[in-house]
Symmetry: C2
Subunit: 886 residues, 2 copies
């Protein structure tokens, strides 16, 4: 018999913190906290395995699970001394999802389960608070109808609004017990009428249905979307936590709140949180009411006048401080704690490692090392390399003029400008067209995820620092200003009104998520400041890693940015990218349309000084660090004039008929240019092109060196498929360079090697390696050919593949280790066998992907190379790889 | 010190028949014959290594070689008791090329070397035949000027013609000694005038220059072309045979000839040859005079009235019969022997395994088994599988009406029709445009090779059965009628006149190379008759091979042809190729342009009956043999309407605006369709397409089975990159088939498997194999992705690659064993490891390439599959592989 259900209740707890895979993060922590003597409402966890079993058995909860749930229920009844469904003192439950990884708000929750027409009366009598009882029942119906029955609750919400209007009140809390009792009846009638289903009165039926609904919510669209964004496997399933209810909404001696043991935005060590008097937990998270600060440290512009929990309930607050210290020391990490105070008694409902910004993550990790709680290695493992992304992007230029129009909560740091839009759909649409947009919402909900991904930043009128918008934006590293209460958002009119001025879709605003300020128009931004903590943290990473990190940079500007971010050289300089600059493209076209070798050489002679100057500038920027320059790679037709005007201009420039241009362009057309006449194949058929390029490199190197710059070039021949190609070309290029050097009488050191980007090159690496001083793995192209998948065309179906679970990840983002990785590993092994001195790097986009960096470390590459902004990510990932694998 | 020169002369021979690599075929055989006591004029061979050294040292003959040549020369002077350059009894030499493999006529030869103004007088006195001496000198000047000095000899030839006219004679032989002496002076003057070079008088200079010229001729364009066609490596080099001259042209007791120990056209065991009285060997080969038959067996229509060698020189003939028997028994193969009779004394100048038609090769091999000379295995190794090609092509339909206009020699069997053309260039041009052409020439020369490749057949007015045209055409398996003396060919007017009727370029003729007949217009042809010898030979091959041979056939017609050729099943039926038939393509387009799944299904429902009927017919043709059907593979846009008319028709057909068609077509455009939305990717996104196809297969199978046909289908899912794709699709298709079977209440056996055509599939074969009952290697696509080489685009540079020696062979023709082969072998090993029951085949074009078949045998595939006409080739190659490797 499998064990499907684990109790958590003082003295009878069956789970531990290590059982996250089975109990989910929430369940494991509930067990852990209960074991440690914290005041956690007792309950039980139905395992993630039960969820998978439910899906596998055609959405049925099997009898074994049912029987174990019944036993656990009986146990909880014994401990609480209450009965589920009892008419005088009913036991009520919350039913919550809880996956292995935190997926805040993505799956479903049902509160107050066990209430029905009989038990609600019992609650009313027992608490002497019929208003509370009926409000709880009303909420339960609404939540259950939504979550379990899939009922569209806008009908219920509008009935509530009608009732308030009818009674003449503004707030839900002003409705009387009688109003709410009547409302619950109306709710049930509407549900019956609209769905044809009777709202269930039997608590046991409610329980089974709710557990099943939570299981099903694992596969709701927004959860799937969230898992895709956060790379969480679809086959984990969620656990279900059935926990006895405590009530933060039984009156003014009750409260509910969320707190962090350190500031999740900055990482500063201060206890920090929000709470609501007389409310249930959902009210804080949903951001419907603006919550109050738990202490002075938690005050901000919009809540500074509200009373703190410390002031109102000092005993419970003191207890909470005790709890948080205990929990942080126990978990050795910043905790995000949910609590409820029922009649002055503190209950801990949940603790977890708190989500944080990247800056906070670094601050917390470095502080914990200083505090002696973590080792440096542990600290390095605490920061997700990808999260550094958000530290490296621009902030507002402090010198720039700006017109601030309002402020909200500084919910997620960073600066962003864009056209405002009012729906997630519109955000996605416009972003797809290349617009920069800001998503403006009254408040966000999990349905808005796609729009938030598409937007540059998020502005909400409601909600606090722990609202949905704030939490999700921080996770994404997107700027967010939340709870901007002076802003009026009308979704129906699609307007944002601030201080009487109306902003419509398409108007530009700028947000500063670090200050909560909102500006009119586009405010210029400046590069990210690198904090001392960040520098310290990265220096630990650099000391720990063995893999070197280079950058892919095609021009002096990008090279400089990358060096500032810690790049140790250029892993890929695509020499031809400089061909596209306006004054050069005409010469490039002249070269392509040249009639014979002599004419082609004349055009190349004109290009030479440009290429040479580029290389001089890059050598200067890198001063002694290796610079890997790839010779011409793309098919020539990429450089062709596409518009009629460009064709006419070219015809005039080289003095031929337009028809000559058209004809030649047609001749250059290829069915599959990716597999066509490109790379070293051009070098074989037009040797003069590569000769010009190496001449530019050599002459630039000599000139830079004579100006005192240290020069370390690597010449890379692309798209090699056979050893004989490389032998043929490298012999000729070495000879050409010798001739140049002989003429100049100078000496010049350089390396020559090749890009391994075709399966055949990887397979026959042993034959190729003796002709190369280095291999650089071009894993973008290698992925294309290994998968037979064109990056330009894959968009049509790759999404389908990932969402249907056929591919775990986009192989262009994260290196496919069993396919492409096999070839890379094979080439390293075979290449080293026949040329022990050869060195290895990777220059595909994968060089900046942490999982791929781990792989590169494991198979013994010398360096990875990635885009400038990903250099710090690769540095940290390389350190983590060394910690993990060595 | 290396040995660069090998003597052959009675008692002093340094080479043996096993030294072909070093001495070339001719040199090795000269050594062998000399050792065996045959009367071979003494001489020496300069090795192939010397040729390579000559190229490597910048076209210089090194001093070591020169000194060894001088020693060998002295030795030959001693044996012959003559002196090179002696003014009274000069030693003369022939200087001939001789590569490892026979390349008839491709490289250069110089005869009569050693003649000059002084020695020619000595020769005249010594022989008492000044006409002979001056004719020899005149010939030498002409040959040397052409071969060594690169002089355009048409000027010399026209001078000869002018002289004949002036003197009033028709034949060269009618010119007097004085005429020829004067001619030699005029020749030398013309050469000086036109080239500015003095014709060398020093025999030693003549020798070095001639040896160097032969070395260089290894890399003349026609030799390179010949090697490409015959897959001879470019790095072998040629040896040079320097042999003392004997003279067939010293008078009427002299002759020269070529003979075969068996008939090279039919293989029949009869001694067979041609000779010319008072001539040099070149005269026979060049086909300038029509030669006489050596015996009655060698008579044909055009030479039956001429005296035979047997009649004219019975003693020499008897000796020749002795020699040929000795040589055939020694070499155990049909020999091609060159001989010269000098004053009634027989000299053997060369012997080699004779070139032969495929029919003759089979006849000779089977006869030699019957005669007890060869084992069956030896016989099977004697026929080049590719040569079977010529046996399998059509002959003239005996029932068809025809108008014979003339006959020539039946020089190379087979029937061909086409538009006549008069130059090699024109043949190449028109063939490239898709025309079928016949090349008509007065006689052919090695310069015509390209045109002969391009033509369907060859017709010449001059030359015998061993003329250039005849030998080369037989090698190519092209029909050829040679020596058609009643035909007048004017190259300048580009006309062919037969019996007064003038035929011009573009007029159709038909040749029967088996009978020598020429017909007006296009005569219908019929399929090749399979001879008893062929059947016997192939039955030995079938008994010997372990690899099975299937065919690639998309329709019942091709299937039937293949079965007749011995196919044991279909290895690849591209189900979608049937989509292109006129009545279907509109439905296919309707399917592609369908707006949503329902509309797509409606179109597919209309396609279903067509697909089903195709499969029924194919099952019937194969009756029980396996039929491997590949589901839809190419990108959908291949089926799009390309012309405006087609688009309008489609818009009307499905009732939408033309713009809808245009838009959808644009949306379907892909940058690299080969790497795009195709193969199983279509199956994932549009499951209904594959469902229709499997339904057609299953229903066809059931229907055929109920008609008593045995059915053995294999369903193949193409373009799998990951195991999960195959798992996803095969599960769904199995389920779909189960549903169909459940409904029909019938049982149906089938296999399901996949095509391995992407590197990733091969690499991860261990993961894929458990989901497949078979792997079929699609080596065409696998070659494309492994090399990163589009078959459609590679034409622009692949030729360059092969000719520059960067690629040894076109990898689309012969499997690249170290790259693509590595993947295939890896997949076989890994696939078998995780699924021991799986079976393996190959279905790329390589399945019909003998070298690739060897590879497939070696790595343990179960079958190869190739186009119908290559099935016998694959069967023989498979037998040879078994003999070689087991």
């Amino acid at each position: 018999m499998s064990k499907w259900v684990y109790l958590f209740s003082a003295g009878k707890t069956e789970g531990t913190r290590d059982m996250k895979d089975l109990l989910g993060g929430k369940g494991a922590n509930l067990a852990e906290m209960t074991s440690r003597g914290l005041n956690v409402p007792p309950g039980f966890t139905v395992t993630t395995q039960a969820c998978l079993d439910y899906e596998k058995s055609g959405k049925k909860i099997n009898d074994e699970i049912k029987s174990q749930v019944k036993s656990a229920l009986a146990e909880v009844e014994k401990i609480t001394n209450k009965k589920f469904g009892d008419q005088t003192d009913p036991l009520l439950f919350s039913v919550r999802s809880g996956a292995r990884a935190s997926m805040p708000g993505m799956m479903d929750t049902v509160l107050n389960l066990g209430l029905n027409e009989q038990t609600v009366e019992g609650m009313a009598k027992l608490t002497g608070n019929p208003r509370f009882a009926w409000d709880s029942y009303r909420r339960f119906i609404q939540m259950y109808a939504n979550v379990v029955m899939g009922f569209n609750i806008s009908l219920l919400e509008s009935t509530l609004e009608d009732l308030k209007e009818h009674v003449g009140v503004h707030e839900d809390t002003e409705l009387s017990a009688e109003d709410l009792k009547e409302l619950s009846q109306v709710y049930k009638e509407i549900i019956l009428q609209e769905s044809g289903k009777v709202f269930p009165n039997d608590p046991v039926e409610q329980l089974w249905q709710s557990i099943a609904a939570v299981f099903r919510s694992w596969n709701n669209p927004r959860a799937i979307k969230y898992r895709e964004i956060n790379e969480i496997p679809h086959n984990w399933g969620t656990a279900v936590n059935v926990q006895s209810m405590v009530f933060g909404n039984m009156g003014d001696t009750c409260a509910t709140g969320v707190c962090f043991t350190r500031d999740p935005s900055t990482g500063v060590k201060r206890f920090f949180g929000e709470y609501l008097i007389n409310a249930q937990g959902e009210d804080v998270v949903a951001g419907i009411r603006t919550p109050a600060p738990i202490n002075n440290d938690s005050k901000n512009e919009s809540n500074k006048s509200m009373a703190t929990l410390e002031e109102l309930m000092p005993r419970a607050f003191k207890e909470l401080v005790d709890v948080y210290t205990k929990l942080e020391n126990h978990y050795k990490d910043m905790q995000d704690i949910e609590f409820t105070i029922e009649n002055d008694q503190l209950f801990i409902l949940q603790t977890r490692n708190g989500k944080r910004t990247a800056a906070a993550a670094i601050k917390i990790a470095t502080d914990l090392v200083v505090e002696g709680i973590l080792t440096k290695d542990e600290a390095l493992m605490r920061v997700k390399p990808d999260d550094l992304n958000q530290l490296l992007h621009p902030t507002l230029d402090p010198q720039a003029e700006r017109k601030m129009i309002t402020t909200g909560l500084p919910a997620s740091p960073g600066a962003a400008s864009g056209e405002i839009v009012f729906t997630s759909e519109r955000a996605t649409e416009l972003a797809a067209l290349g617009h920069k947009v800001l998503l403006v919402r009254l408040e966000t909900s999990p349905e808005d995820i796609a729009g938030m991904v598409a937007a540059q930043g998020i502005l909400t009128a409601r909600g606090g620092m722990t609202s949905h918008a704030a939490v999700v934006a921080r996770g994404m590293g997107k700027p967010c200003v939340a709870g901007c209460s002076s802003a009026e958002v009308s979704h129906s009119k699609a307007t944002l009104t601030i201080a009487g001025k109306i902003y419509k879709e398409g108007d530009f605003l700028t947000l500063d998520g670090g200050t909560g300020e909102v500006f009119e128009g586009e405010v210029p931004t400046k590069s990210a400041e690198i904090s001392d903590d960040f520098a310290k943290f990265m220096s630990w990473a650099d000391a720990r890693r063995t893999l070197r990190v280079r950058t892919n940079a095609d021009n002096p500007r990008d090279s400089k940015v990358a060096v500032r971010f810690g790049a140790e050289g250029i892993g890929l300089c695509r020499a031809e990218n400089m061909f596209f600059e306006p004054e050069r493209i005409m010469i490039v076209r002249e070269m392509i349309f040249a009639d014979g070798t002599a004419a082609r050489k004349r055009a190349l002679d004109k290009l030479l000084p440009y290429q040479k100057q580029d290389f001089i500038d890059i050598f200067k920027a890198l001063d002694g660090m290796p610079v890997n320059i790839r010779l011409l790679d793309p098919p020539l037709h990429e450089f062709l004039p596409h518009s009629q005007d460009d064709r006419v201009a070219l015809a005039n420039h080289i003095g031929v008929e337009l028809s000559v241009i058209t004809e030649r362009a047609e001749k250059l057309h290829e069915f599959n240019p990716m597999l066509g006449h490109r790379g070293c194949r051009l070098g074989v058929t037009y040797p003069e092109i590569y000769e010009m390029q190496v001449q530019a490199i050599v002459e630039a190197g000599i000139e830079a060196a004579s100006a005192g710059v240290s020069v370390n070039p690597e010449i890379m021949i692309p798209l090699i498929a056979t050893a004989s190609e490389l032998e043929f070309l490298s012999q000729r290029l070495h000879a050409h360079i010798d001739k140049i050097l002989q003429k100049s009488g100078k000496k010049f050191d350089y390396k020559m090697g090749t890009m391994i980007e075709l399966p055949r090159a990887a397979i026959t690496a042993a034959e190729i390696a003796p002709h190369a001083q280095f291999f650089s793995f071009g894993t973008n192209d290698l992925t294309q050919t290994t998968f037979g998948l064109s990056r330009d065309d894959a968009g049509k179906f790759l999404g389908d593949y990932v969402s249907k679970g056929i591919l775990p990840k986009d192989p262009f983002v994260s290196l496919d280790q069993s396919g492409v990785g096999f070839l890379v590993e094979h080439a390293v092994k075979e290449g080293r066998r026949t040329n022990p001195k050869i060195h290895f790097g990777i220059c595909g986009e994968h060089g900046g992907d942490p999982a791929s960096v781990h792989f590169c470390h494991k198979i013994g590459l010398d360096y990875v190379s990635c885009s400038p902004f990903r250099v710090p990510i690769a540095r940290l990932a390389a350190a983590q790889a060394a910690i993990t694998h060595d």
